[in-house]
């Protein structure tokens, strides 16, 4: 059964439709522009998937942050990442960078160094689709992470357990798969790992050279050794599989899905890209249980809406809107990252969501260019169907369509913008 879930999905006639293609684009990237969606429908699943894995980011956009790092302005860094996401040059790479940013949550509120935050972000981009073990080791040496989790104060005789605890609890194993002693011993193994300026440094004089017993194995483990032992734990592959499933498939991953994907992860040598190639083409990914089962986070919500409307958002404004909605990039609320799911929507954030999406629909504020033509031009009786087809094809014939028809029948001058706003702010659109 579990093996079957990850078998390639072979759509029967008519199954590779607009909702299916949009599902793939929303999850594996940040939505699709109208022409991308049409192309996906024409070409089929495999070529579309290949495009999502590709990286066509404009070098000038990628490099635009370099001269600005010296300004030490976090808003510019947030705007830059938002620009990369909105540009859609490397959909899956940026999506994975956001997943890792949430897992290895590090906030500039404490790090207070835009260059370090940028370096960590590039690390997620460089290793995010590669070998998870390499990524984990790189994160453990990342200066932003070391500042965030007090690596500099982890010294022989005075171990600081912050990093060791989060490595096990949040990054790799999850509660119940380690004991307090493992944390204490791992902290000793990581002692001496710190920063000098903006670089990683190993200070031998601060390293505890004594024997440590981790997961029942004793030795003079250093940080790399401790990470090796963590990665050997069966819970580690399951933890990473859960992260991937919750990011790409559904918020409450079933144990059988986790087991199946963890096996795949180990089989492909922890290679994230190869794991995702299987997951994103699987029956599970396209199953009814997966579709529209996640509440969209602010960044993906804005990007998906902008791409569906063929709108160009001003990056800095978009980053601010996302922050207003509860997702300030480079400033996750805690070491656990964003709670996500239902926590995205509460009374305060809902007003911010409503305002941001209405602004987008009106083509105002942060919208540099809103190109609704030709698909949404005109406001005749076909408008409701066209708006839904563009933004929410899954809801055709459902509640939003009736509301749209009433709106168009009222003959408002701003029927088109109102119709777009109605769909974007509907509860249905918040589900990806």
């Amino acid at each position: 059964m579990t093996g079957e879930l990850l078998q390639p999905w072979r759509p029967r006639a008519g199954e590779w439709d607009r909702p299916a293609a949009l599902h793939l684009y929303r999850r594996a990237g940040f939505g699709a522009r109208p022409e991308e969606l049409e192309r996906a429908l024409d070409e089929g699943l495999a070529p579309t998937l290949a495009r999502l894995f590709a990286d066509h980011t404009a070098p000038e956009l990628r490099a635009s942050i370099r001269p600005l790092l010296a300004a030490a302005d976090l808003e510019l860094l947030q705007a830059w990442w938002m620009a990369l996401i909105l540009a859609g040059g490397a959909p899956l790479r940026e999506r994975m960078a956001l997943v890792w940013h949430d897992l290895f949550a590090t906030s500039n509120d404490k790090v207070d160094d835009v260059r370090l935050m940028h370096a960590q972000n590039e690390l997620f981009r460089a290793h995010g689709l590669g070998d998870f073990r390499v990524l984990l080791r790189a994160v453990a040496r990342d200066p932003a992470m070391l500042v965030w989790l007090d690596g500099d104060s982890n010294r022989r005789g005075h171990p600081n357990e912050n990093f060791a605890r989060e490595v096990m609890e949040l990054f790799t194993l999850g509660i119940g798969h380690y004991c307090e002693r493992d944390i204490q011993e791992a902290a000793r193994a990581f002692s001496g790992w710190g920063t000098a300026g903006r670089s990683f440094v190993f200070r031998r004089e601060h390293h505890d050279e004594g024997d440590k017993t981790l997961f029942g194995r004793t030795g003079n483990w250093d940080g790399d050794g401790a990470l090796g032992l963590v990665l050997e734990q069966p819970a580690c592959a399951r933890h990473v599989a859960r992260v991937l499933l919750e990011a790409f498939v559904a918020p409450a991953a079933a144990e059988e899905w986790i087991e199946a994907l963890a096996r795949v992860l180990v089989q492909v040598e922890w290679h994230i890209e190869r794991t995702l190639e299987i997951l994103l083409a699987s029956r599970l990914f396209f199953s009814p249980a997966a579709r529209r089962s996640r509440i969209a986070g602010p960044v993906e919500l804005l990007a998906v809406a902008a791409r569906a409307l063929d709108a160009s958002l001003v990056p800095k404004r978009a980053a601010r809107l996302a922050a207003d909605m509860g997702q300030a990039l480079f400033r996750p609320p805690s070491v656990k990252g964003w709670d996500g799911g239902r926590a995205w929507i509460h009374s305060g954030s809902w007003i911010a969501r409503h305002n941001a999406l209405s602004e987008l629909a009106a083509g105002a504020g942060g919208v540099a260019e809103l190109n609704l033509a030709p698909g949404l031009a005109g406001s005749d009786e076909s408008l409701p169907a066209r708006v839904l087809e563009r933004l929410l094809p899954e809801a055709a014939g459902q509640a939003p369509q009736a509301e749209l028809e009433r709106l168009v029948a009222a003959g408002r001058d701003d029927a088109r913008a109102a119709a777009v706003a109605l769909v974007l702010t509907s509860p249905e659109f918040q589900l990806f």
Binding site: A83, S199, V314, G366, A368
Partner: protein
Amino acid sequence: MNRLLPIAALALLSVLRPWPRTEPPAPLAADRALASLVPERCLVYLDASGLHPVLEQGLDYPFLRALQASEFGGSWLDDLPVSPVEALVKAEAWLGESALLSAAEFTERGLGLGFDPESKKTVVLALGRDADTVARHLGLVFDAIERQVGWPGGLDAPHERWSGAEVWRLGEAVIARREALLVFGNGRDLVAEVLELAADPDGRGLLDRPGFLAHHSARPEDTALWAWFELSALEPHADQGFRDLRGSNHSPAVQAILGAQAGALFSARALSAALALRGEHGLELRLRAHEAPCVTALAPMAREGAVPAELAANGLAQALLYRDFARYFTLRSELFAPESLPDFAEAITNAALLFEGQDLGEEVLARVSPWIRLVSRELEFADERRPEIPLPGVAVVVVLDDERAAEQWTAAFQTSVALINVDQAQKGRKSMRLHLAREGAVEISAARFSTPVPGEGVDVRHNLEPALAVVGRHLVLGTHESLVRELVRELAGARPGAAWDPRETLDLDARGWRAALDQNLEVLVARKMLTDGFSRAAAEQEIRGLCRALAAFEGAHVEFGGEDRSAPELVLELRLARAPTEPRASTQPHAATER
């Protein structure tokens, strides 16, 4: 018979009563001022009579010729969809004679524009050479319009006659001619009022506005454009931003940034502006306020004070300003709104920490002259500390009443660095290292962040290396030690001057600013991309356009103030850059006003 009597009586009366005679209106007096024809309800008036020489010479006018030859003018012309020469050729073909000649003769005795914000209507008045010339040119224009719209003869005869003037109506537009006066407007009533004023030999129009005549008469002789704004009357029609600007005169921030004189400019009842083109490369804009509510207690020379000695004019900017910060504090409750007072109290308390418990207004700043010299120059950085985004340095020079106060100021500087370091340390941030240096016999207190690790980037904060020195009675406080050193050398042996002129001055070197922009071009382009959503090409185009606009000028000199505090004046002189082949008169900014 009885019934015929009333009819007969009426007939008799009609014979006895004189017929109303339509007396021809008196001709327009030759010396009639154009503004006297503009209704008083026009709150904005523009007099372009001085443009006549420009219209006569067209693109050969010296200033325009020089502008075309400049880098900015050249690129601007390249960007136009139609070049000015092509446009003139087309206009000539349309009109059947030289458009410039026609315009020059139409406006030989004056050209004005009035705007009524209440009705949002505009009227343009032109006084031509004589009635025949105006009639002939108007006929040519009408012929061209008739040809264009396919309405032959439609404008041959006037559609109406108002107050002795021939009137044509083209949709909402109204064109009227009376002798050599041509009136064009988009409001029937406004044009009619102009014509009534023209028919009334005693009509005074805008001349009855208080202050108008005095300002108009006082404009420089070579004024090309002169404008009058009834600011107080415009206020109800303006947006909130304009109202805020007018109400900002009593804001401590406005007083600190603009000062009492420039701050009062936009709070005045009315404002006149005169623009003059001076030779090939000069442009002067003169703003003069009428009934400006200047805060006299803070105005120049309200308090005795020495003026800092002259400095070399080799920087990006240099200003001589009057800011009586002592009175800001001592008179705060009289001068500023109550909501700003807690901020003053906080500043006084904080300053007491730095100045041995002394009162900031009464004891510290009261012993500093209100005349301030402000200097901005490009900086030389040590290689290992050169910021990736280099910014110009800024320094202020003031005069202490007594050079014995030097130690107190030095101690305050050192204490403030220590306090900043404590605050930085609490936030886990880098602190600054305080050190003493010498320039000749003068001791300089300076602070800087620790030298960045090679290869890890030099952040913008390394532009800040604050330093303080006291040279005789001159106190120098700058954002960078190297700039303070330079000023210490320049001030060595110099004595403060005595104030005799209430004017404040500002000199800017446009080429220096362009060099500073060029240095940070990549930063500005990238910032534009991310903050405004521009593509790289569009961002580059905009920033390069700004650089080219700066390149059009060599520099600017601004003076503000004047003897009459209710009528402060701001004079802006811009010097257009010379074309590369032209000899340069001077590479220095305008020398500061001599005192």
